[in-house]
Symmetry: C2
Amino acid sequence: MRARSFFLSTLKEAPADADVVSQQYMIRAGMIKKLAAGVYTYMPMGLRTIRKIEAIIREEMNAAGAVELLMPIVQPAELWQESGRWEKYGAELLRIKDRHDRDFVIQPTSEEVITDIARQEIKSWRQLPVNFYHIQTKFRDERRPRFGVMRGREFTMKDAYSFDRDEEGASKSYDAMYAAYQKIFTRLGLMFRAVRADTGAIGGSRSHEFQVIANAGEDVIAYAPESDYAANIELAEAFSVLEGRQAPAETMEKRATPGKEKCEAVAEYLGLDLLKSVKSVVLAADRVNEKGEPMPAKIVLVLLRADHELNEVKAGHLPELKEGFRFATDDEIMQAFGSKPGYLGPVGVKEDVAVYADRTVADMSDFCCGANEEGFHYTGVNFGRDLPEPAVADLRNVVEGDRSPDGCGTLKLQRGIEVGHVFFLGTRYSEALGATYLDENGKPQILQMGCYGIGVTRLAGAAIEQSHDEKGIIWPDSIAPFEAVICPMNYAKSEDVRKAADELYEELKAKGVDVILDDRDMRPGVMFADWELIGVPHRIVIGDRGLKNGEVEYAARGNLAEKIMVKTAEAADFVAGRIRK
Amino acid sequence: MRARSFFLSTLKEAPADADVVSQQYMIRAGMIKKLAAGVYTYMPMGLRTIRKIEAIIREEMNAAGAVELLMPIVQPAELWQESGRWEKYGAELLRIKDRHDRDFVIQPTSEEVITDIARQEIKSWRQLPVNFYHIQTKFRDERRPRFGVMRGREFTMKDAYSFDRDEEGASKSYDAMYAAYQKIFTRLGLMFRAVRADTGAIGGSRSHEFQVIANAGEDVIAYAPESDYAANIELAEAFSVLEGRQAPAETMEKRATPGKEKCEAVAEYLGLDLLKSVKSVVLAADRVNEKGEPMPAKIVLVLLRADHELNEVKAGHLPELKEGFRFATDDEIMQAFGSKPGYLGPVGVKEDVAVYADRTVADMSDFCCGANEEGFHYTGVNFGRDLPEPAVADLRNVVEGDRSPDGCGTLKLQRGIEVGHVFFLGTRYSEALGATYLDENGKPQILQMGCYGIGVTRLAGAAIEQSHDEKGIIWPDSIAPFEAVICPMNYAKSEDVRKAADELYEELKAKGVDVILDDRDMRPGVMFADWELIGVPHRIVIGDRGLKNGEVEYAARGNLAEKIMVKTAEAADFVAGRIRK
C-alpha cells in the first residue's frame, strides 16, 4: 500500500472524553472515529487490525473443528422469551419494534438463535459433536459506554456454541476451545492469562476467562507465581488469614464512639488494632409473596474484617441472595437494626436478619463492632459467648499474600482485560428451548452446550493497553495495521531515494510483507511522529546520506533508540526476517 | 474440507412460503435458514458463497483505488434529520430508541455517516479524490419481505461513496466504479447488463443499474440488440408509435356503453379497434396550504393508448407530481370528473385538473374515451377540435418493437435482478451536511459525491435464479460453496476407494482447489442428489469398478449427462484445469 492511495488521518490531541490510552491513541492514529456514545466507525487504518484479528481467530477456530455460519443481528423476541432472557437481561438488551409492531432485539449474543437452529437441525447422535461460530456485530446498550472499543455498545464478537451428547463430550469441546484460545492469543502476540471465572447466574460448572494483562484492566486476577493457578478475583477462594480462633480474653464492653462511623476512625478513637475490627455490610434481596406482590426485602448482614473487601459475586452465592441482591437502604437498615449505618454489628440482631461471617471473621476473637445504636460500638466481642456462632462463608476478595487455593505458595494480583471467555453451559438453553437429539436407542436426550466468546474489537484496545509508550501504539507484528513502513526522506525530489524506496517496497511486497510506503513527501519529523503514533512495528528510513554508503536505516517500534544500518540490497531480507509470523 | 467435519443439511422439500426458486434451493441446500420474515441465518454452506462474493468485490474495489472502512450499523438519528431522510425515508427505515430514549436507526445505507466523516476528515483538495467503501449489514424494514435473500430485511451490502472536487472528478470516479463493477460481475460468472436507470428523487444526472439477467427478476430491461443501449424500463424513453397525427375523419359521438368499464370491453362492444381507444388514469398529489393544513389533492389526468402501460417513474417527473403522488380515490374522481372510474376522459374536464397525454396519444385522432358520465363513452374524439391540445409527455413503458432511443433498431425486453447501482449524487448530501473542502485558493467548496452499491447477499439469490435446473443450483465456479466434490462409493468399506479418494482430495487441495470430500458414506443416490441440489460445479465419482481400470468419473454440474472417465493419476490436473479462476 502506498500512503497516498490509502487514507491516513492523525491527530495531535485526543478528544477530551477519551478516557483510556487505547482510546486516545486509536482516535489520534485515525483507527476509529466516534459516531455516538460507544459506537465507532473503524477507519481504514483500524479496520486492517480488526481484519487481522478476525483472520487469526477464524483460522484457529476452523483448525479446532468449529464451523462458521452467520446469524442475524436482528433477532425475534419470541426466542428470548422462550429462554427467559427477554425479562432477565435488563436494559443492556436493546429491544426494538418493527413496522408491524413486532418485538425484536439487536443481538448481544446468540445462544437463543443457535439453540433454535440446533433443535431444528440436530436430529441424531451421529451429528454430534458440532461447534458453530460466527464473527458478527453485537450491541449491548451499556448505561455508560467508555474506554473506547473496550466497552462500546456496538462491537464485534466471535461467539461459538458447541453441542454434545453428554457432559463428557461437552468437556472435550470445552478443552478444545480452551486450547484454541491459547493458540489464538499467543498468535495475536499478547501477554495473557487463562483464569478461572465465576459461572454466574447461568450455572454450569466450568468457566475460564482469557485476560490480557494490562494496568488499565477492569478485572483483577489472582495468581500463584509458584503454580499455574490463576483466577478472576471474583472467583479466587479466600481462606481465613488466622490460624483458628483464640479463646476470649476480654469482656464485651459498650463504648461511646460519637461520630465515628468508619472502622478506621473507631479503631483510632478507641486505640484498637484495625485488624480486631469487624465491618458490617447490609445487603437486601427483594421478595414477592405468592400473589406476586412486593414484600419487605430479606436482610442479610455480612461480616468482614475491617481491612477486607466484600466480594459481591461470592455474596451472590449465599442462599438468601442467589436470586439477586442490592445494598440495603438506610430505611431498611434502621428498620432491621434500629440504628443508622456506621454503628451496626451482629450482636443482638433480630431473628429475621441472616448473619454471615467471612472465614477470617469466624476466626476472630475479642473483636470490635457496632452496637446497633448511634454513637456506640462494642469491644471484646466473642462468638459463642456474646452472640451465637455465625454461619460462615467465603465472602471477601483475596489480597496479595493470601495462600493460594491450590496449596502452592501465596497469591499475587494483577489487572487484566477480559478478551475471551469459555463457558460450559450445560442444558441452560437446550432445556428451555427443547433442543434434543436421538441417542443410539432412539431416545431423545437434551443437548449439552458450551459457549465461547472473543471480543474482536475489544482485543484491539487491549493490545494497545498492554503495549504502548508516550509516542503511541506498539503493535505486535501479527495485528499491526501494516507490518512495516518505508519512510523515504525527500521522496518527491531525490530520485535516488524514490528509486530505492520503490524498489524496497516491491521487494517487501514480493516477500509477503504487509508494507506501506509513505509517499506523502512530508517533513521527516511529521512522518516519524505519524508512524510512531500508529505503531507500525518495523520502520525503514531511506535517505540520500545513507544511500551514499549503500545503506538504509532500520528501527523496531519497540526499540526506536536502536537504529540499525542495513545494506540496501539486504534490507528486504533483513526486515522480512524480523517479522514474527 | 471433509463433509463429516463440515455441516451439511439438505431438505427434500422447501417450506411452503418459499416463493422463488433461489429461496427454495437455498433453504433445501442448507445455505440459509429463516429466523424471521426477511431475516436469515447463513448456514455454513451459504456463508462460503457469501464470503467468496465479498472477496471478489473487495479485491476489485481495492484495485479500483477504493479504501475500506467499517461504519456502524446503529446510527444516530441526528444525522438523518440533518439530511432530511429521517422524515422522508418512510417505514422501511427502522427507527429505534436506546435506553436513554435517544433516537437511532439501523442503517439501510450510509450516506449520512460517510458525509459526516468526510466533513470532519477532508480538509483540502490535496486529499481528493477519495472513495470509501464498506461491506456491512443493512436493514430495510420491507412491508412484505419476499424472494428469500433477494428482498430480505437484514442483508449485506457493499456501499461505496466517492468524494471529488468537481463534477468532472466525480464523473471519473463514477467511470472507475462502473468499470470495477463490470469486472466484479464478470468474475462472479454472471450474465448481466449495465442499464441506465432513473435518478429518482435524489436528482443527479447519472445512474446505472447492474442487472443479472433472470426470468424471475422484478425489473424489466429494455435493450437494443443492434447497439449497447440498455435501460431499466422505468427510464427507457418511449416515442410515439404513430407517424404524426391524422386529420379528423369522424365526428364526436356520445355512445351508450352500459357496464363497459375497461377499454377492451368498450372497444369490443362498440366494434372499435382497441388501438383507437384512450385510457384515462387519474393521479393525485397531496397538498398542504401555507399553514401546513391539508388541502384537496391536485388531480392529474394521464392519457395512454389503451394497450400501453403507465410508467409511474415518468409520471413522477410531471411538475404537479414530482413531490410524490398516488392513485386518486373513487371519491376524488367523482368530485373532479362527476363520474365513477371506467367512464373517464379528457373531454370537458374542469380547469383545475391537469391533463397530460402520452406521446402516442398526442398523435391519435378519431379516438374513443370515456364521456365522464356513467355508462357513456365518446368516439371520434379529436384534439384541437373537441378538446384543447393536451400537454404532452413520455408517460408509458416501452414495449418490444419500440424504436431504440439511440436510433439503432428496435427494443427488446428481458427481466433482470438489480444487484448493483452506481449513482452520481452531486451535492445532495454534502450540501445538507455542509461537507466542504478548501480549494487551491483556500476557498471552501462543496464536495461532489457518488454512491455505489452492490447487494452481496442478493447476488447469491440472483446467481441461482440465473443458473439452476430441476435438480438444484448450478453455481459459477467463482462463488460455489465448494469448487469440486469428491463422491466416493462405499468409502467406509472399500479400502481402494478410500485411498484413492483421500489422495485425490489431498492433491486437489495442494493445487488450490476448494474441494470437499463426501466421507459420509451414504448411498450414491442420496449423495448425488445432495451435491446436485447444492450445485457444486465439478464432481468426481470414485468407485471400485472405475479404479479397476485406473479411472475415476468426472462430471460438470452444468452437464451431468456427459460423464468423463479420467485416469486416476491425472484426475487432479484434469479437475483443476476445468475450474475457471
